[in-house]
């Protein structure tokens, strides 16, 4: 069983919801990420989504765009993101890591070379925003053969047919994009999410993590209770952006927010 599947199974058994932070590797500096990942684990996160910086993040709002820009200014790349994961793994062999990014860096490396490198870095899942299953089967097969879960997105306008497609193509979990829009948008409607989740559940048994537009502990709890986990990204990166001249404070504020969400999820 993959580390992700095992993690979600254990959470379900314990009646807990997954808390999944998203941070961009190398934002705002390459040496900031690994210590932050360890601190986040201490604060009670269950899976870490590690963003691979990309020059043209088409599905992301301004906050994550700027995170990519800061990381790229330090020559961060897919290769160095994998090195970041290796560094983290030296002292944490338990927390699943999911790479989240865009296809072109993987295309440039080559699918097979990437799959091998991800396996060497002990990556657990790969979510490629602009690679739907129609185009992604070659890459997914290479990942699956190495025990890495290909993770796909579903959206508010996804049909039953597409849910079934993701169920067949993906593993680990499904990432449900809670709203029509970009990451960090401000118009999340929990009633809509609840309604949609019923349709999705009817067509897949994969765990469902919900993200986009989750800003605080209250929303996180509501959302997590509808799905199997909640992804929080822009709200964390805001803390980095607000404290670029005091990164210790940035880290502390991220941990405080995650701890408050963990507490809300557990209560």
């Amino acid at each position: 069983m993959s580390r992700l599947a095992a993690r979600f199974e254990a959470l379900a058994k314990a009646g807990r919801k997954a808390l999944i932070p998203f941070v961009t590797a190398g934002d705002p500096r390459p040496d900031f990420t690994v210590p932050l990942m360890h601190e986040m684990v201490k604060a009670g996160v269950d899976v870490i989504e590690l963003g691979v910086p990309f020059s043209d993040p088409m599905a992301d709002g301004p906050v994550i765009q700027r995170a990519s820009e800061r990381a790229l200014a330090h020559k961060m790349s897919l290769r160095r993101t994998l090195e970041t994961a290796i560094e983290f793994r030296k002292t944490d062999q338990d927390t699943p890591i999911v790479l989240m990014g865009y296809l072109n860096p993987i295309e440039a490396m080559g699918y097979e070379a990437f799959a091998n490198a991800a396996q060497r870095a002990d990556i657990d899942g790969v979510l490629t925003v602009d690679l739907p299953p129609e185009e992604g089967l070659e890459c997914s097969a290479l990942l699956k053969a190495r025990g890495i879960d290909p993770i796909f997105l579903l959206a508010p306008n996804s049909t039953d047919e597409r849910v079934k497609k993701m169920d067949a193509a993906g593993s680990g979990y499904i990432y449900y994009v809670s709203l029509k829009g970009v990451t960090g948008a401000g118009h999340l409607n929990t009633a809509d999410v609840e309604h949609k989740l019923q349709q999705i559940r009817a067509n897949t048994n994969l765990p469902i993590a919900i993200g986009f537009g989750v800003k605080d502990a209250v929303t996180a709890k509501t959302i997590a209770n509808i799905g199997d986990g909640v992804v929080i990204g822009s709200a964390l990166i805001n803390k980095i952006e607000d404290n670029l001249d005091d990164l210790d404070l940035a880290k502390q504020e991220i941990i405080t927010l995650l701890a408050s969400i963990r507490q809300a999820l557990n209560s």
């Binding site: 043209d56 088409m58 290769r79 440039a108 602009d130 997105l153 959206a155 508010p156 049909t159």
Partner: protein, 400 residues
Amino acid sequence: MTEKYNMPDERGHFGPYGGIFVAETLMPPIQELNEAYQRYLADPVFIAELDADLKYYVGRPSPLYHAERWSRELGGAQIYLKREDLNHTGSHKINNTVGQALLAKRMGKTRIIAETGAGQHGVATATIAARLGLECVVYMGAVDVARQSLNVYRMKLLGATVVAVESGSKTLKDALNEALRDWVTNVDNTFYIIGTVAGPHPYPAMVRDFQSIIGREAKEQCLEATGRLPDALVACVGGGSNAIGLFYPFIEDKSVKMYGVEAAGDGVSTGRHSAPLCAGRPGVLHGNRTYLMCDDDGEIIETHSISAGLDYPGVGPEHAWLKDTGRANYVNITDTEALEGFYALTRMEGIIPALESSHAMAYTMKLAPTMRKDETIIINLSGRGDKDMQTMAKREGIEL
């Protein structure tokens, strides 16, 4: 010899290129668009309406003009200009926006968005939106807003909202990113009119089909004027819509050579250029696989060209396929050479070309003298130079 050409396949692939590489939220609207497009393409009422708009609103057919003086001066092939500069709004872009806007109306969309580089596609979109009474938002890189201020004013005059995009390199690719973000947020009521033969399927095929009126007319006009097919076609390539519009109806006519002219900026060897077909590598950006300007890590690199309309790191996937199969030749022209083309056409024929089209003029100055006097070149004069007056005057040290 004629060989059947029927690209793309059902999923939008031109060999390894093209396809649909988008986030999940855009899959349903893309499917909806594809279905609507296939349906209306076969609908005689839709086609009749489109043809009427092209005739009475755009002003088609555009003339095929024999540039006799310039041909004589260059001393080789006879040069004919396909006068897309004479279309309403001043470029070929309107052929496509008229078509897509009609489609938007049929699909019940009330809001139109577009990206623009030089502003020609933005103006053409704002124009048709005004005519149909649709809300229109145009995304334009902040750098381009500054260098194409005349077109920005035209768009505003036409009632469009122009959003200056401040992210990334602040040029055409960033405008496209921002338009995609808008579309993903407003998928229910919004139609995204992409201006070039890029983006996810069906855009590359759809924009090509709307632009191929250029080549269909040119073929007929050339046969009428010379009694035979042309020997060579020349067009500038940014995303590649004017080039594919001219090339496509000639693809099966193997005797017709095709030259796509990319922007070499300061020169391909300097790295400061916009020539992905000549000096890039295959990758995925903006919904399709094609040749791109990117580094070894797959990050898109900044492009450079004197012409905002060619300042783009990708190119339509069909051009990538035509390059790999050898059916078309892709060459490049520097900023300096493009300026020579600009002045040559202006002084020789009394026609001021857009800086984009000037790249095609400059390549023709190299090509024509190598050909016989009884041979024929058709150049796509894709746009007029009015929008570039400020840029040119500034280069000459003149304040307008």
